[in-house]
Subunit: 253 residues, 4 copies
């Protein structure tokens, strides 16, 4: 049993850990800018492998963050940032078996992130665009998620889910979907709206207030990276991202 | 079966949802500033209850955030903020069955937060202070977590866990525990250090670099709340929290 | 001549510099929480003086910032922060002989700040409230400004000044005064609008765009103080001011 | 007299104000990407001029900000930002006749900014690098400043000035120049240190504390620009500058 744990299955996703880590499938020859790696042979988790010119990597189990951030997934459009999705987790704490409705799907980034943290629950994502659905399905399958369901439908036609724990609105026209979200949520369940624009944020807040949402809160979230590479020269990075979305949270009253 | 789902079990934690929601046990008479509520009688999830002077609440299933933020838990010391804990989730994505080592325990806040998102995993928390342990155990039991283990031990004596996915250092002297963390982590597993002070942050980064940690990153995380209560008068809150901790992330090479 | 420079004139404003500096007039007995100081006697700039219980202060020439921030002035309402006023200086650089129109006056804080940096110029401030004018005149006289003129008039009745270099709008209904500002400015002269609220900021921007203002720019300005009192424990202050006003700048086309 | 005021002197700096304003000398033919402008002929302030293909500009008096930010000056190295220099003005308020020592000179940016706001005062700038001095002199002459003096000397050899109101340290090794700054300042005069790095900032604070500086304060200053170009789509800019320098202020005790 222990042995089966340590062997890498042919074709499985592996992270080749090194100065510049690589996410890939355990299969075939891999051409890297540090030389060629033989991934045909049987591999073990934690093992050291070397390219033909001697550069070594460790075979590590990839984390979801490797998959999402190291080109594991394909994206077409801008996605919510992990920092914003995780802030929604912080403020709403959906339980492991949560029912979450995610509008819209996009490339599946947010659905996958949420599915990861609600492993006994279910994420239902609505999306009209077939290309997006195709892309997302590919991404979902690649990582092996089994708790994401995609419905090819315009959310304004209504959603089927009732008693949802969390409803994510990250789409144009979010303000017009607040009522649909409310009806889908359980009493005390959470709506989270992600708006890049201040006008959309205000319109959603207004709509949520009219519909009796409680414990409302709007935040923005600025993550500033520091450069700590050279001692005596520690400083915040000079340039960086300073806006993604306004996040509005509220719960069905 | 459906019925058993909708009935509230005597003594269970309930959230009385209203303009000012209250977290309490479904038991006895509750004196609120809006009058007295009878929680002796059988309750159903979603039901409306009224105080003797007619103020109504909805009986809702509490989320972890209600428990953590609405006086469900007892705290002695400053705890990590949800925004910081969730950012660690965003950057390290421990799997549902993760093994996480949490130093130190404090009132159990961070262990409970992590346990919630790794329901099939295990959080092992180290703590020397018996008072803290007593407090944390009370909190853990109250919510019913079954995947948190507490070890009454000075972390500098070493930890038992091997192949950990995530190791949290949120303690004085963190820089001296980096080596212990490394040995406990699996290849590719993550260390997250939370330091209020810039000197501690720099010392930890230096130590992590010496020990070959990869994909290192130090961030601070500023959440700014907006005041959207009165239209025409929307603005960021004038005063607020502008620093909690520097978070340093890295993974075992 | 040198001597006359070094003597403090009776009744002049002096800064008693110490661990807790005090701004006062060089006159009479001063009761401080460190004992009584004799300011009757002749004083020299830079001289050390002692209270009756031996606490020493240095007699220093006060800077404007001492006057503005150490209770030299009387205020009734919230004033623009030095950080915001100085940012307007940074972006518009009025020349030493600038003509500046300041609406509204309030307690005179912003007019005094601007007058200080345009010593050969003139600040004309509009204000309807007599109480404010009285207060401001007292403040202005106390410091001795000679280049501030106050007009008791509703700005919506129009302003007399033409060819102004800088026009400050820091008042309710600023959006309705943009046209008046434009007509008062010289070609290439600057309008600076300070709005606490995002709606007002947006309304002003829209109006400025309609009226052909150029080089428009809206910013907010976050000053974060650091706590560097105890080495090994350096950190940004945990709580602080995170919003004052949105500043919109543009110039007459 | 009025006429002489309105005529542009041949060779004078003018700002051609338009959608994309241009700073230039009133002389010769100017080739712009909107066509050729004739600046040979006599011009009047405020006049409209047109390129040979009909694009029109207004002839405006340039402000210092035009000179500093529209390629009026030549720079070799990174300069302090206007937002940081103006914050120093906000916290120290040097009087119009202030004596300011500026180390180091660089391209003269900060000396010129300060000279502008202290027109009856004097800025003395120290610089060892002859290339920098040449560059700065060119810039200073171009705008016509008469209150900036440059001394070609290593500041560690000491400075001549006494009773300075403000001493700026914006250089490597600032911590070793704090004593020299102190001796140059008047009682109650201000030292302002600009440090990109946290270690330098801390070293300067420590040195200043040892030397008895008072009213010490360290800040960082984040200016976030908003994008208000399209209504319904108002948002903070997504990417931008998030660090320049830590500014430490203190006054001689």
């Amino acid at each position: 049993l222990a042995e089966s744990k340590t062997k890498v299955i042919k074709g499985e996703l592996v992270l080749l850990l090194g100065e510049e880590s690589i996410l890939t499938r355990a299969d075939g020859k891999l051409h890297t800018r540090f030389g060629v790696l033989d991934l045909e042979k049987e591999l073990e988790w934690g093992e050291e492998v070397k390219t033909h010119i001697g550069k070594s990597f460790r075979v590590a189990k990839p984390y979801l963050v490797d998959f999402l951030m190291k080109r594991g997934i394909k994206r077409k459009t801008q996605v919510l940032y992990p920092k914003d999705l995780s802030l929604i987790l912080a403020y709403t704490t959906p339980p492991p078996d949560a029912l979450i409705v995610d509008c819209g799907l996009g490339s599946g980034f947010s659905s996958m992130f949420l599915a990861h943290y609600c492993p006994q629950g279910k994420i239902v994502a609505y999306e009209r665009d077939r290309e997006n659905i195709k892309l997302a399905l590919e991404n979902i399958k690649k990582w092996g998620f089994e708790n994401i369901e995609i419905k090819e439908r315009d959310i304004f036609e209504g959603v089927d889910e009732r008693d949802a724990d969390l409803f994510i609105l990250d789409m144009k026209g979010a303000e017009d979907a607040v009522k649909i979200a409310k009806e889908s949520l359980k009493i005390g369940g959470w709506l989270a709206v992600c708006s890049p624009y201040v006008e959309q944020m205000m319109a959603c807040v207004e709509r949520m207030r009219e519909l009796g949402f409680l414990e409302m809160k709007t935040v923005e979230n600025l993550v500033r990276e520091w450069d700590v590479r050279k001692f005596g020269h520690t400083l915040p990075q000079r340039w960086g991202n300073i806006h993604t979305v306004f996040i509005t949270i509220g719960r069905r009253g």
